[in-house]
């Protein structure tokens, strides 16, 4: 199998009273086994909707299509509800942002883990319990047997996120989709959770699709990076190229907005002026042009396409070829 996940020309449409909006508009990418791909972007860029769309978890109102999603070699977009359900947790599992609310408050950790295990590993009774403890230990929880008997409210945020991760890996998924898995956690706990995800990737060759707005997390985790803006991919390349030679003005703006340890105390961070456009009222031409420092006439009238600027480096900008990165 060449790719764990292949997404081609995916569009997600929400029908609203003010007409249809497309938080995800014609995006394509692929994830290889054992690879970590990060999707970065501001709030409202469509990165979370993309992650939910993969397992069809958008709920009522969000329509997927046109576009194709292939997970573990199988076409998800053509599957029935029951077939799709089988893929969830087994082929791909998800880790969410808020560990405080992603666990059921009235069931013990053991109940919840054993349920996932029964469904995905087919184990019951003592075997399920032993496997549950093993998963917790793998997720870095030392006194696993004790934690199995506890309720979520008695665990800290970091512990809960470990439990969520333990549940996600119960079915040995080929792909872990992590939607801002560390955003709600303390910085030290963040680092531990990222280290845990890294270890899972090396130990099991699990591919990770990591959704984040934190470039520090990207640098730490990613093999490849997709930068999203207003529902589109604006730049895609490997992590080293992205940090060394970002081509899209938006990506460059994001980089400048992050403090570096070498910055002096008087260094002022640069912000990108304006905010992400309302997806119901997108500007003509390039979606970034109202905020772009280099916008030209062409940018205002014509939408740029995602084109290779270098080998394995795609960018959606008319000016990318002309002005080399500073």
């Amino acid at each position: 199998m060449k790719h764990v996940l292949e997404i081609e020309e995916l569009t997600v449409t929400f029908r609203t009273e003010n007409g249809d909006v497309r938080p995800v508009d014609d995006i394509s990418f692929a994830v290889r086994p054992g690879e970590t791909v990060c999707i970065v972007g501001e709030s409202g860029s469509g990165k979370s909707v993309t992650s939910l769309a993969i397992l069809n978890l958008l709920g009522k109102g969000g329509e997927i299509g046109p576009g194709r999603i292939r997970l573990a070699g199988e076409q998800l977009t053509e599957k029935s509800g029951a077939e799709l359900r089988k893929a969830r947790g087994k082929d791909a599992a998800m880790i969410f942002q808020e560990p405080m609310t992603t666990l059921n408050p009235v069931l013990t950790i053991g109940d919840q883990l054993r349920e996932a295990i029964r469904l995905h590993a087919g184990l019951r009774g003592k075997a399920a319990n032993a496997y549950a403890a093993e998963l917790l230990r793998e997720a870095g929880i030392a006194r696993a047997e004790q934690v199995l008997k506890q309720y979520p409210h008695s665990l800290s945020g970091g512990m809960r996120q470990r439990v969520v991760i333990a549940m996600a890996i119960a079915g040995k998924p080929k792909l872990l989709i992590a939607d801002e898995p560390t955003t709600a956690l303390d910085v030290t706990v963040q680092a531990q959770i990222l280290a845990l995800l890294k270890r899972l990737r090396t130990d099991h060759d699990t591919a990770i699709l990591l959704i984040t707005h934190d470039l520090g997390v990207v640098a730490e985790m990613a093999d490849r990076v997709l930068v999203m803006y207003a529902g589109q991919i604006v730049e895609e390349t490997d992590v080293f190229t992205l940090f060394d030679r970002p081509l899209h003005p938006y990506t460059r703006g994001l980089m400048k907005a992050v403090p570096a340890i070498s910055d002096g105390p008087d260094y002022r961070l640069e912000a990108i002026p304006g905010s992400v456009p309302d997806i119901g009222r997108l500007p003509q031409g390039c979606r970034f042009h109202p905020r772009c420092p280099a916008a030209a006439d062409r940018c205002r009238g014509e939408m740029p396409t995602l084109t290779p600027a270098a080998p394995a480096h795609l960018v959606r900008c008319w000016l990318a070829g002309q002005s080399p990165a500073s």
């Binding site: 397992l55 978890l57 709920g59 009522k60 029951a82 359900r85 089988k86 893929a87 969830r88 947790g89 599992a93 998800m94 969410f96 808020e98 609310t101 992603t102 666990l103 059921n104 408050p105 009235v106 069931l107 469904l119 995905h120 870095g140 929880i141 030392a142 006194r143 004790q146 934690v147 008997k149 506890q150 309720y151 409210h153 008695s154 800290s156 970091g158 512990m159 470990r162 969520v164 549940m167 996600a168 079915g171 910085v187 030290t188 680092a191 531990q192 990222l194 280290a195 845990l196 470039l215 520090g216 640098a219 730490e220 080293f240 992205l242 940090f243 060394d244 992050v258 570096a260 340890i261």
Partner: protein
């Protein structure tokens, strides 16, 4: 800014490998609820009374001094050494009838509530989870049931079908489920939008599993509280129907049909042993169960 600098940043915040903190084993939900319940003196008292009543009903054959149906020659006799609470208008022992009547009240109370809470919960779950036209149809039906003048409809049904214990249970249940359905629906509507439900779907859990194993237990507290108050109100409904002669039929004893003997003014003023005991039992039972309900509401409310 280069990539290596960012790596440094990330490495700086990168503490040593996992050092998860462990907390002491916590109190589980049930024990915590029991502790909160115990703080309510009246609720504990109510629970004690309810348990005593239940035991009385179960052990009735051994507690009754006489047969509740045996007719003696003394009609409407005042309390005496052999008949502690006197005899009724056809000469039966009032105390024995009072004891056996506890069965009727508790059976009606618990059976009615068991039936309508199960039905109402299912309706509320289905309505809220599926939404759309299913929800709209079910809610209009619920509105319809709530708009019925239910005592009148019950009277009509009972006179048409004939009064008996199962009939009474069925008709009271028929008109009580909408409140549970509305309660469950509103709770499920807020629960199904919660992250743990999405997380469950992401793990491949099907709708029935999510509904019954994940969402339903989260709304158990309010349902239990509602059911407790429902028991008290079902007992009152049965008493009302029996008082009107549309409920439990003599010679079977029920506190309601015992009370109906007080319909004559002479009984009301001159033979209080015929109605005060039955009336008191109703009052005590309903109060006790309502106290339990109040206690449970505080004990099970996660926000309290």
């Amino acid at each position: 800014m280069s990539h290596s600098e960012l790596r440094l940043d990330a490495a700086a915040m990168h503490a040593a490998e996992p050092h998860p903190t462990q907390e002491a084993a916590p109190e589980n939900g049930l024990r915590q609820a029991a502790r909160r319940f115990a703080r309510h003196r009246l609720a504990v008292l109510g629970l004690a009374v309810t348990v005593a009543l239940a035991l009385t009903a179960i052990l009735a054959p051994w507690l009754m001094p006489h047969s509740p149906y045996a007719v003696t020659a003394q009609f409407s006799a005042p309390p005496s050494a052999s008949h502690w609470l006197g005899t009724d208008q056809v000469g039966r022992d009032v105390l024995s009838r009072l004891i056996i009547a506890a069965r009727v009240s508790l059976i009606v109370g618990f059976a009615t509530v068991a039936i309508y809470v199960a039905f109402g919960t299912l309706v509320g779950l289905v309505s809220a989870y599926f939404g759309g036209w299913i929800d709209a149809a079910i809610m209009r039906l619920t509105d319809m049931f709530l708009a019925f003048p239910f005592m009148m409809v019950i009277l009509v049904i009972v006179s048409a079908v004939g009064a008996s214990l199962p009939t009474i249970i069925a008709v009271i249940a028929l008109f009580s489920w909408p409140s549970v359905a509305l309660l469950v629906r509103s709770n499920v509507l807020s629960l199904k939008a919660q992250d743990f439900v999405t997380a469950g779907r992401a793990l491949g859990y099907g709708t029935p599993r999510l509904l019954f194993r994940h969402i339903l237990p989260n709304t158990a507290g309010p349902i239990i509280v509602n059911a407790t108050f429902g028991i008290a109100s079902a007992i009152l409904s049965e008493a009302g129907l029996s008082f009107l002669g549309m409920g439990v039929q003599p010679p079977t004893a029920s506190w309601g049909n015992m009370l109906s003997e007080a319909q004559s003014l002479t009984v009301l003023t001159e033979q209080p042993w015929l109605w005060v005991p039955a009336g008191s039992m109703l009052l005590v039972t309903v109060l006790a169960i309502n106290f339990v309900g109040d206690g449970l509401r505080d004990a099970l409310d996660p926000k309290a």
